[in-house]
Symmetry: none
Subunit: 333 residues, 6 copies
Amino acid sequence: MAPLKLTVAQYATSPTLAETLSNLREITIAASSTGTNLVLFPEAFLGGYPRTSTFGASIGSRTDTGRNQYQKYWAQAVDLGDTHPDGLGVYDAPGDGTREFLEGLAQNTGVFLAVGVVEKVGATLFCGVVFVCPRGGIVGKRRKVMPTGTERVVWGIGSPKTLKALKTDIAGQKVILGAAICWENYMPLLRATLYTQNTSIYLAPTADARESWISTMQHIALEGRCYVLGCNQFVTNITLPPFADDAAASTRPEEMGTDMAGEKVLCNGGSVVFGPMGEVLAGPLWGTEGTLSVTVEDLEGDVVKAKMDFDGGFSGHYSRSDVFRLEVAGLEL
Amino acid sequence: MAPLKLTVAQYATSPTLAETLSNLREITIAASSTGTNLVLFPEAFLGGYPRTSTFGASIGSRTDTGRNQYQKYWAQAVDLGDTHPDGLGVYDAPGDGTREFLEGLAQNTGVFLAVGVVEKVGATLFCGVVFVCPRGGIVGKRRKVMPTGTERVVWGIGSPKTLKALKTDIAGQKVILGAAICWENYMPLLRATLYTQNTSIYLAPTADARESWISTMQHIALEGRCYVLGCNQFVTNITLPPFADDAAASTRPEEMGTDMAGEKVLCNGGSVVFGPMGEVLAGPLWGTEGTLSVTVEDLEGDVVKAKMDFDGGFSGHYSRSDVFRLEVAGLEL
Amino acid sequence: MAPLKLTVAQYATSPTLAETLSNLREITIAASSTGTNLVLFPEAFLGGYPRTSTFGASIGSRTDTGRNQYQKYWAQAVDLGDTHPDGLGVYDAPGDGTREFLEGLAQNTGVFLAVGVVEKVGATLFCGVVFVCPRGGIVGKRRKVMPTGTERVVWGIGSPKTLKALKTDIAGQKVILGAAICWENYMPLLRATLYTQNTSIYLAPTADARESWISTMQHIALEGRCYVLGCNQFVTNITLPPFADDAAASTRPEEMGTDMAGEKVLCNGGSVVFGPMGEVLAGPLWGTEGTLSVTVEDLEGDVVKAKMDFDGGFSGHYSRSDVFRLEVAGLEL
Amino acid sequence: MAPLKLTVAQYATSPTLAETLSNLREITIAASSTGTNLVLFPEAFLGGYPRTSTFGASIGSRTDTGRNQYQKYWAQAVDLGDTHPDGLGVYDAPGDGTREFLEGLAQNTGVFLAVGVVEKVGATLFCGVVFVCPRGGIVGKRRKVMPTGTERVVWGIGSPKTLKALKTDIAGQKVILGAAICWENYMPLLRATLYTQNTSIYLAPTADARESWISTMQHIALEGRCYVLGCNQFVTNITLPPFADDAAASTRPEEMGTDMAGEKVLCNGGSVVFGPMGEVLAGPLWGTEGTLSVTVEDLEGDVVKAKMDFDGGFSGHYSRSDVFRLEVAGLEL
Amino acid sequence: MAPLKLTVAQYATSPTLAETLSNLREITIAASSTGTNLVLFPEAFLGGYPRTSTFGASIGSRTDTGRNQYQKYWAQAVDLGDTHPDGLGVYDAPGDGTREFLEGLAQNTGVFLAVGVVEKVGATLFCGVVFVCPRGGIVGKRRKVMPTGTERVVWGIGSPKTLKALKTDIAGQKVILGAAICWENYMPLLRATLYTQNTSIYLAPTADARESWISTMQHIALEGRCYVLGCNQFVTNITLPPFADDAAASTRPEEMGTDMAGEKVLCNGGSVVFGPMGEVLAGPLWGTEGTLSVTVEDLEGDVVKAKMDFDGGFSGHYSRSDVFRLEVAGLEL
Amino acid sequence: MAPLKLTVAQYATSPTLAETLSNLREITIAASSTGTNLVLFPEAFLGGYPRTSTFGASIGSRTDTGRNQYQKYWAQAVDLGDTHPDGLGVYDAPGDGTREFLEGLAQNTGVFLAVGVVEKVGATLFCGVVFVCPRGGIVGKRRKVMPTGTERVVWGIGSPKTLKALKTDIAGQKVILGAAICWENYMPLLRATLYTQNTSIYLAPTADARESWISTMQHIALEGRCYVLGCNQFVTNITLPPFADDAAASTRPEEMGTDMAGEKVLCNGGSVVFGPMGEVLAGPLWGTEGTLSVTVEDLEGDVVKAKMDFDGGFSGHYSRSDVFRLEVAGLEL
């Protein structure tokens, strides 16, 4: 059994979708050259995270400035051509080419990609993660089921059906991939939905850069007895996406964040990797762009050994599935 | 991106199908000469709306007079040669030449036509709308799924499969066309079927000339966040089609309607155009024949901005597709 | 059969819950003295509509000022003691006395109350409507299933199970009460859920004061063939609730709204009553506080007659329930 | 509103139950004298945690030595006189006086006690927590629903019905107390059961002394937006309870643990208190016995403000109770 | 009616799963050649019974040696591909081929197999029994609801839903099969669950080799008035599975058991068959591997006659179902 | 703690009640003289077991001979003066003096008596057991809830409320007494009712003298982890009670039974005592009258140690009371 190399990429969204895709390609190729089998990109990496924006909305009121800002944001979002009402990844509409770009990149490099996206469907935007397999193309997709705070003004509510974990092989090892986006990681029933499916690599793209996030990542590793990959962007007022402009922001970026080398740090990163016994394997990475990588010799074996102690998964010891019963609408568990 | 000019044609059916087609050609050519890209004609424009007629039917009783009247009406209806049991627009029977006429006209003028028709299939009549593309000919057709009142004596019940919205380009802009005929506009699940498909130009040919119809058109613009084109005939006792003769009518036309310049107005028009924020753009046009036109600079952009506020479409914010589930027999949404 | 008098009360929330309840009592007693059987109060009348507020939230950021504002708002919200996870109105926790207040008032005056509330459950707020019966106390409750825009920052997502219509007798007439709150009135599947239950008095408390709202009210009357009561607050910068303070607002109230007698009108009212043929019966009432009342001689008879024309309700002509199938999670229709 | 002082007591079980009770009394009186309103004692504080023991059991085999060890352990366990099959705290059997001791102590000091116990019912032992109110005596009890590892040889499986949270007043402030014991804190559905009941003080007596436990405590504070009190014993080979003797242990205590001042530390403590924004308020306390205290000015206010950001409780924003449905056998949520 | 030949196979698990399956095949083919219609294999026959092991666990402690031992054990366990949380036998995941092996063997030999297994689901192991029908493949499965002693460290708790008895035909006779594993046979409510379903062939795979076990088998025959097949392994220190190695065992195997021909007997067998009047029909078989067979002329008739005396089954005389009410969570009785 | 001596008395009923009471006194005094603390007498010892009788009944037919026989039997039955409809032992009617006799005997000898009786209430007979305490008199009573076979012609159906176990002290040791009569010992829910109450001395008076009965007694010891006292009569054709005369018997006694010293053995005894690990402590006693005694040093300790292995009692390990729920009408468990 060959080792499995997992990488998280802590980078900021570029000013345009084309530039972000180009950057994603470079990062992937570089990671591929050092043997990486899977790269995770942060929440909203494609499309951009509109930090500081309000889109002109207050309660009972909107502005045309805000609507124009939304249109600019919408224009940068990806169109994957998903035609299923729940966003389950049925791709028979054309889309904007992003899907083909990612699928081609995965195929050419042999790297499995997990990419945070802002996806447009009609006029609505969703915060999602796509799973791009070198062999099968986009084989899975998640959509955040509950956006946080003002995100709710611009992002739709994803269907819990997208919580279907993905069983696949990467580099010859059996993996079960699940993803929870940002504060979905605080939702115990959502995480239980992933554990129940025996998720062995838990992906946590996020925009939360507080130090306490590291505790949550470690806790999830121990609770889920799985590898946990946390991935955030590192963003300053310089790299904030152009559509997140001052006019619509409630607070001007330069009044926010932390000073660092003349810039204002708006999102300080904090990508990190934990193993299934809760041990930190890489990171946390603060205050810079960059990647973290870990090499796993026997992923299934590591998980089995860790679950001997605690198994909360599919009718595991600690699921007490005889007395706790979780149902997720539309998702057969 | 070139602007898109949309026109509604408020005209009455002529005494014969040939005359009506001729009139339709003149109106189309005139509209084309002023840059129109799409013309919508009213409900039953070809074939005629049999206002005032009872076709000799009362409950438990019919008359030969009524049967003769029906035969005359049937003779004026169009035969498109549609061979699909659900009227989905599979044209491999010869028809009566109307299809070729409309396709040629669209091709020659470059105008996309949406025409209200009374279509015959065997001995049955359907109230429908045909979409005639300059490039592709008749690329779509609707049939009213529920006729109103006495219409049910002469019109069949259309299949909901015809509610498939049409994605196409008109004048270089992406459009998604949907149509709801007359009181279909009061059917919330039918409209939802169109919204779910992200209809951006909503066509509403009708025979309802009450003022309250304008509220419904405005409501639909706000609910569907799309352009709404309402189109009715202007009809008096003079222009009532010949087959709708006195003998079979329960009430004589001259005892109906409103006096206007010595005529009795039987259908006062009320065509109107609304934009996706619910703003009136043209009309309503009352008491005369004529056309209304609007020019749209960026149809998709207008819709996106309006849907930032409210998106009830394909898994939009307000669809709550996770808890409301609409299924339409035979139509994959 | 005695006539049924229905009243809508267009008033603003007072600075404190106690004062609002006191005002509600006065309005109810006055209405009762003129024979009213049912009074509808506006959206968020108890608790208050936080117009202009952002609660310090922009995307990826919150402020302590905003959290303090939220606590003030939360303190004014009502606690009904509802213990059901879906807010279905199982009241076995004590609450804050509001329920008993409303139930006592209904009992003493004999007036059926439908009151827009902001309800607290733990730390979460819901925008709801309670139905208070003189005989049975609080016999029903709705919770808005999708808040609008920035409301999503402070209001939870209600369960569609609350869409159960309420069958009861008021003044000896059989009524079926349904309610849709503000932009829920733009959700066709939600309205269809109410029509399917044969709602005869459709209550539409709102915070939308645009003129186009009147079209929506009229359309619903025609679509649902029911009495429609629209009810809004009339609010100026003077009567804006204290917790909606400037500090947290993205736009200062005095820069918003329309001048009127030295005040800035932030919400201009527009309460209105339509009958089941789409005819306006009272209002719209713009630019002032006040009440509108209508007297209905035979509510069930009026609805039946209107539905002869168009019946979209429980397997009515126009439901086409054979081909359109609506399912609402957790609600047996 | 008076402030609320909360204390966790990190002490080891004494050689006999009588001595442990005596120690508990001294700690409580001392805490009371500095104004404490609630004291939490560790898992199995009364009865003792049999660290290092195997009770002579291997798979398919037991020994009489192990059975004798069990009898000694059983003799030290408390008998509360609970007669309900699920251990729900119906006390009509006499018990061994421990209940009366604790109730008297709470009454005399005015301190609310939450005490980890090993409770005997017939011949079976349960690991539990009792809530002892100065006014009402023992008003609640939990039993661990899934013991960890070899604990399963000697501890029964508690009923999930004991997860009912306790609403009460302490020092004039409204509190909702919930408890999860040791690795129950890794069970997301169990924690969700407590959050759903709006637990505001989350008690976590434990025997886990790894550093990663602190991450779990912090995560729970953020996930549950509540005060979290973690409490462990500090135990060395000297203070290990006598019944946990060498003969039956698979590993001799002196071969385990960490050296400290000539003793072997078998359980290093790690008691800690977090606030509802995830901020550490006291501890962690490593390597010694002692207490930690925090003073809370407005517990409900702190929780409400923290839940504005994230509310996973009773139909809170993030519960998505419309699509995630948790049922716990026998417990009405 | 053809006679029905029932066989119990008292054999030890082989060093690897492949070898055990191979042995199972040989035993089955041999039994088939002498006309056997059903073969019962012992508890944990596939996967192995880890007699003497502790898996490095004592209370509050685990070792990496124990975790490695667990991984070795897990590797030998069967993966049936059951995807139901309660292990009800929904097989849509691939599994490891064991299911197909057993189904093929049953089909080819025409023998109904009841096989004790250690089944893995994710990282958790369950002790179960599969029912393999020559016609339908795996048509039923049980999972032990309460492991015994140290088994609880490595085996999960099965759902009582698996207690559904299986009605089928074997060799043209109607049978109702139920199974209780090892000390489940001491659980009166569990057995009553099987009697209530009129179990006629009661299968009792076990690891209990004490002489008193024979009394329990006989008692069950008399209590349940059914055929009872007890089946155990015969195991010595030589045939103990390799993963049950010395290092992790609390007691070295050579210090356990009984001498026999230079080996240490760790499990002495004791397979036995009783008829529904409590009469011994075959065995007990002590001190060797081998099979026992009985031939039943009229199974249903024998049961009916025996139940004339005592019928504790589905509302039988002795069920007193009017006053004793048994409910089993999730199982409709 | 003094040892506890338990005795079973295997004797036949005498020709008259007075003689049987006299015999009972002698046996008790003798047992007392050797230190016995409790004596158990067989089923129907007072009143008599009407072996061989049919009471003239066949289906659809009775005889006067049989009625006369019943009257004779009824005359020999005891009248305890129990006035409770369920026979729960409320003694405020006078009775026939048997109660006072037994209470006096217990008081005088200091021996706790458990006596099988045939009790009359009006014209109905019940098969029961009375518990006679030296201090409290008759402190408990059981009535068989389901007579066996032809017993149903003469014995009523007892209430399950009589299954309340009796907690008391005997010789300074805490005991919990339960009784199951004859084939009640085959009723798993009935036995579970006793186990749930933590019965530590399980009394099994019977009339079943088959060898297989010993298996049932041993099984119960292991299942209930309690002391089990089985007690039967030794009866020949000579000692058969006079009312069981030939005329009414379907089979003449001399054609039944087994020859022994010129007599026909009709009931061969089989009294036996087992300890809580299933070990035989005394008996079985076949083929003669006589007593068996055992001395218990620490009854509670023995039970606790045995239950460490298996505890099916009051929420014990193996009760799985979270998923198996037993309710017994009228008995609070």
